[in-house]
Amino acid sequence: MTVSTARPGPREVTGPSAFSGGVRRFLALTVSLAALDFKVRYFGSVLGYLWQLMRPLMLFGVLYVVFTEFVKFNAGVKDFPAVLLTGIVLYTFFSDATGNAVTSVLDRENLVRKIQFPRVVVPLAAVLTAFFNLITNLGAVAVFVLATGVRPHWTWLAFPLLVLALGILAVGTSLLLSALYVRFRDVRPIWEVVLQMLFYGSPILYAIEVVPSESARQAIMCNPLAALLQQSRHWLIDPSAPSAADVIGGAERLLLPAGIVVAICLLGVWYFEREAPRIAEEL
């Protein structure tokens, strides 16, 4: 690599910001940071990456035993184990991505305080690290789903759209939380509680049809995470299961959870952009 011969004229030093800098550098930085993060996290221990695969599977094992052997309110739900595992894996992605992102800017303090680079790279890399895990975990899900007798269906092709939507939600939330955490240190415990609420407020432990009241089912579907999980069940495992639109009572009502995703995303970008120039000083 050489310094480019055709040097541009003097450029103004504008100070740090959320996005500035070329697209290539932006991408290279995000991927490098995520890859190194991945390395630090999983290649230090003996079992290394295996833990990452085992974690959702073990949680699945426990929940599966409890909710099919002891508490049988999901009895009669078709392919419930597959639904449970898919739900856990998708939820784990969201919770890992946002959970890592909350403290990410502070964790990278040594970089943020010393080098100018687009600040948004930091929470983005945290989400990307979780995304690497999601990809491998989805491999495990695919094997399991096929093994339990679910046959591939053309709607599987639409599934990446749901992952994309989930990713967007995770990025928006991460931007908001990571910027908030710089100022407010109680964001982390608060977010842990919210994550728990989201877990129980989504059809993971239970199939949506076991919820008795219709209004409760509709309320649950307003949670974007719940809507995404329900739709992935419909597309991925059991086409006869109600889609998110069926549960909420009409496709047009899905605009509400979709609107929440967009709103969180815009809020996250706006707030992060606003805070980015001063993050190095606030740390």
Partner: protein, 437 residues
């Protein structure tokens, strides 16, 4: 002379330096000056210091309207200067004068409150102790990460790794996590990363203050090379000897404002004058209370010179050097004793030179007069850092202390030979075969 080679190398360096100074000053004086590499115009930066450092959301929600009190700290105020391409530019000032803030503004880490900074060329990250390293990662990964941070492609960054490690002399520690590096090793790595990344403008903060004498020497060598290559360098330091040796120009900051700009010698003298103001933060008496005496005479400046009369902060072992102190008299005094002690890192007085045993009378001085007390010696001190303490007493009257100044200055003795003794005296060593008895 036993260390003849060292001395001549030092001489060679000094010659090379004076060449550079001449060419540089020509370049600076040229009327058709090129576009400045760094242009700073009327820059101001204020920090808000909230009284409660970390507020919580809970507090914020409970007291939404409560005004959060904070102090304002003006770190920079109306700072302007230009740095020409290829110039070696020094930034000096006392602690808290805004030097590091200025560097962070140049590096784009802080947003300016007012003013404008423009740079022409790629700028390095500013380097200081532990620059942007990830402590859990090996050196290899850190080098790549830093390269990408600076705008190299990941591939180009990976290609640089070997050069960087080679220069830092850390090849064998390639796979060691950074947390297991000593701070000296980290600085070496940071320095190496920075200079191997082909930035046009380098920002360097205080690296001379850390690292051993050998590393300082290496830094100096690199500085000369970078100057030859026409890199623009902005160096923040407290080492006035370095400023005078390397810099084409320097700026002196005080309380966030430019108080002097120009010839390094002039700026360095101004800096020292600021430091030796009575009660100034740089005055050891102010922070350690290690200054005493009745004050009828005061040491106002000390220095160490090499045999050519140039002030230095590092000396090769074996070289001839001179300690000097300028003393100002506040009252009429007669026959004072002047003494200087060289104290090593273990607080041992390795060498004490006193006028008491040398001569009967040192003479009469009136109020307002000044004298220079100097000690010339062949440097037999073992390699390491030495602190100087001066003592002026009234002879023959129970040694009443006139001025006692502990740790007034420090300097470094460099040398490859460290046998472990406190001093390294000139000697003749022989091993001869003799007939067994």
């Amino acid at each position: 002379m036993e260390s003849f080679t060292t001395t001549s190398r030092l001489e060679g360096r000094l010659l090379a330096f004076s060449d550079l100074t001449t060419t540089a000053s020509h370049r600076v004086r040229e009327p058709s000056a090129p576009v400045p590499a760094v242009s700073v115009e009327d820059v101001a930066k204020t920090f808000r210091l909230p009284h409660q450092r970390f507020s919580t959301l809970k507090e914020r929600l409970l007291h939404p309207t409560a005004a959060r009190s904070h102090d304002k700290l003006t770190a920079l105020h109306g700072v302007s200067f230009d740095v020409a391409p290829g110039e070696f530019f020094g930034v000096v000032g006392r602690n808290g004068s805004g030097k590091s803030t200025l560097l962070k503004c140049l590096a784009g880490i802080y947003r300016l409150d007012r003013g404008r900074i423009a740079v022409d060329g790629r700028i390095s990250p500013f380097i200081e102790l532990g620059v942007g390293f990830h402590q859990e990662l090996a050196a290899h990964d850190n080098i790549v990460l830093n390269g990408v941070m600076l705008g190299l492609s990941p591939r180009a960054a990976r290609e640089r790794v070997d050069e960087v490690l080679e220069f830092a002399e850390l090849k064998e520690f390639e796979d060691l996590k950074l947390k297991n590096y000593s701070s000296g090793m980290q600085v070496r790595l940071a320095f190496s990363v920075m200079i191997q990344l082909d930035a046009d403008i380098l920002l360097i903060d205080e690296i001379l203050a850390v690292g051993d004498a050998a590393f300082q020497q290496k830094c100096f060598d690199v500085f000369f090379r970078l100057r030859d290559e026409g890199k623009t360098i902005v160096l923040v330091t407290h080492d006035m000897a370095a400023v005078e040796r390397f810099c084409h120009r320097a700026v002196l900051l005080e309380k966030g404002e430019v108080v002097d700009l120009g010839e390094p010698k002039k700026v360095a003298d101004h800096y020292l004058a600021l430091n030796f103001e009575p009660g100034a933060p740089g005055d050891p008496a102010a922070f350690g209370g290690e200054r005493g005496g009745d004050g009828s005479a005061r040491v106002v400046e000390t220095w160490m010179e090499d045999e050519h009369g140039a002030r230095q902060s590092a000396f090769a072992q074996g070289a001839r050097c001179t300690f000097g102190a300028r003393v100002r008299f506040a009252a009429e005094v007669v026959d004072l004793n002047f003494e200087v002690a060289f104290v090593n890192a273990h607080r041992q007085n390795v060498f004490v030179a006193s006028s008491a045993g040398e001569r009967e009378a040192t003479g009469r001085f009136a109020a307002g007069e000044e004298c220079v007390f100097s000690v010339r010696f062949d440097n037999a001190l073992a390699p390491g850092r030495y602190a100087l303490s001066t003592l002026i007493t009234r002879a023959g009257s129970g040694d009443a202390v006139v001025d006692r100044f502990e740790n007034i200055a420090t300097f470094v003795v460099t040398g490859a030979r460290a046998a472990g003794g406190l001093v390294d005296l000139p000697r003749e060593l022989a091993i001869e075969r003799v007939a067994p008895r």
